[in-house]
């Protein structure tokens, strides 16, 4: 039971700067300056000195206005971008289902891994659902093919198994199995999002990143996707990071929340506390602006 307290991911001072950057970038940006553009060199601090711990089977929310760096944080964690600084430690060495994949040591900073190791870790342990399905799916390849791509990356080579697994996952995400061979470009936005979820779950990830997964979906589909995520989370004990600017989504899905503004974390705490007793001026504004 005590191992529950060992975080699965520890993030220290994660920083991403677009542009050259100068030594004073981090000093002159942030919520107190109301900007994330460095006044000395013009570089944009997309996220600066973000530190937090992620515990097993928890759902962590990240909220904030657009451009506050929410997506940057999860995309750095998914190794989509190279970071400008910081450390990430992955503590769950016991999770490797695939003996071919060598997971990093717990004291090894993930940001120093080479691209091959990062890719291996991503395919063995991480899952991502992008806000824009075009980033996560190949629109012209069949849905089954999209899911199989990840399975191949994770080491599966048996086409029957891959098809079976794809069909299972599509059924789980409430997409008719008959449409397994249809490409996502034929699907509606909500269905594309669910194919993405199926794809992200195909390798049994330890950590799942959901980047604005319900934004742009109509309300009934949104409710269905939320319900699905909640079910899958409790069924597979997934650790999830939910990025959203919809406070309703955050309230219903997450247990802890971080609030970001101008690339920095301004407040973090239990979700109900953040929403009902916000301390930071920006969080108060955000919560009081909710419809």
């Amino acid at each position: 039971m005590m191992q529950q307290w060992q975080p699965v991911l520890t993030i220290k001072d994660l920083t991403k700067i677009y542009g050259g950057g100068c030594p004073r970038c981090l000093e002159v940006t942030g919520p107190e300056f109301e900007t994330n553009i460095c006044c000395h060199c013009g570089a944009v601090v997309a996220c600066g000195q973000v530190s937090f711990e992620l515990y097993p089977a928890e759902v962590l929310g990240i909220v904030g206005e657009s451009g506050s760096g929410k997506s940057t944080v999860v995309r750095l964690l998914y190794f989509d971008y190279d970071s400008s600084g910081g450390e990430i430690y992955f503590h769950n060495a016991a999770v490797s289902a695939n003996p071919q994949v060598k997971l990093p040591q717990t004291d090894e900073n993930l940001l120093t891994l080479n691209s091959f190791q990062k890719r291996q870790l991503r395919h063995a342990c991480l899952g991502m659902v992008y806000q824009n399905p075009h980033l996560g799916l190949r629109m012209a390849v069949s849905s089954g093919g999209n899911i199989a791509e990840r399975l191949i990356m994770a080491g599966c080579r048996h086409i029957g198994q891959m098809r079976g697994r794809s069909a299972d996952l599509l059924a789980k995400t409430e997409i008719p199995v008959q449409r397994l061979d249809e490409p996502p470009r034929n699907f509606s936005g909500g269905m594309r999002q669910r194919v993405q979820i199926a794809k992200a779950l195909s390798n049994n990830p330890v950590i799942l990143f959901l980047d604005e997964v319900t934004t742009g979906l109509d309300l009934s589909v949104q409710a269905r996707v939320l319900d699905l995520i909640r079910q899958l989370q409790s069924e597979f004990h997934l650790t999830v990071i939910v990025v959203s600017h919809d406070l309703g989504v955050i309230r219903l899905l997450t247990s802890r929340t971080m609030v970001m503004k101008c690339g920095r974390v301004v407040e973090s705490g239990l979700t109900d506390q953040i929403l009902e007793d916000p301390q930071h001026p920006y969080t108060q504004l955000l919560v009081s602006s909710q419809l």
Binding site: Y55, A223, D227, R230, L252, S255, D277, Q279, P281, Q284
Partner: protein
Amino acid sequence: MLEIEQLSKTFHIHSLGRKRIQALEDVSFQVAAGEFWGVAGPSGIGKSTLLKCIYRTYLSSGGRIWYDSRRWGRIDLARAAHQVILEVRQTEIGYVSQFLQVLPRVTALDLVAEPLLLKNGLSTGEARKIAAGFLERLQIPSNLFEAYPVTFSGGEQQRLNLARAVIWKPRLLLLDEPTASLDPQSIAIVVDILKQLKEQGTTLIGISHHDDLMQAIIDRVYALSQEN
């Protein structure tokens, strides 16, 4: 079991020039295991604030809330780590809010069965069976079991909310006006359920009103007044 020492809570509203609102000041009382405490006082005096401070939905501004946890020993709920609070909420402390806030597309039966699955580790079938029995006892019509709670009346939603908190038999239960929009008959059922829960050893703290049927099972009352 619960010892509140000089608890105070001040809200700072930044958009109004850091306006201070003193909601609680110097609240102290001790709750022994198995007791049912009522919190009384006029509207706006801070009754809900007190319960929310205990549940850590609000961050206390001062004072301590000592709780004898089964697993963690004596902890200060006002300052304990997030993970400890989440674990205690998962296994020991329940909270009945004034309003039902749940995922929109989950049926009433699944909502009530959910805590049993998560906290008591029962199988889906067993949990649904117990949940159905419980909903029946709360006189929720059986044709609503598979309906979505958004479509329920206010009273039905509130009973559902109570069912979700009571079904897993928490060690400490905080009740934020659980009978506010119920008719006398439903209140009698709720009171009966709380009475049974108390007999099984749960400690309760609830917001009560003088004319309330709950008075019958409340052991002691903490009256909030302007001074605190």
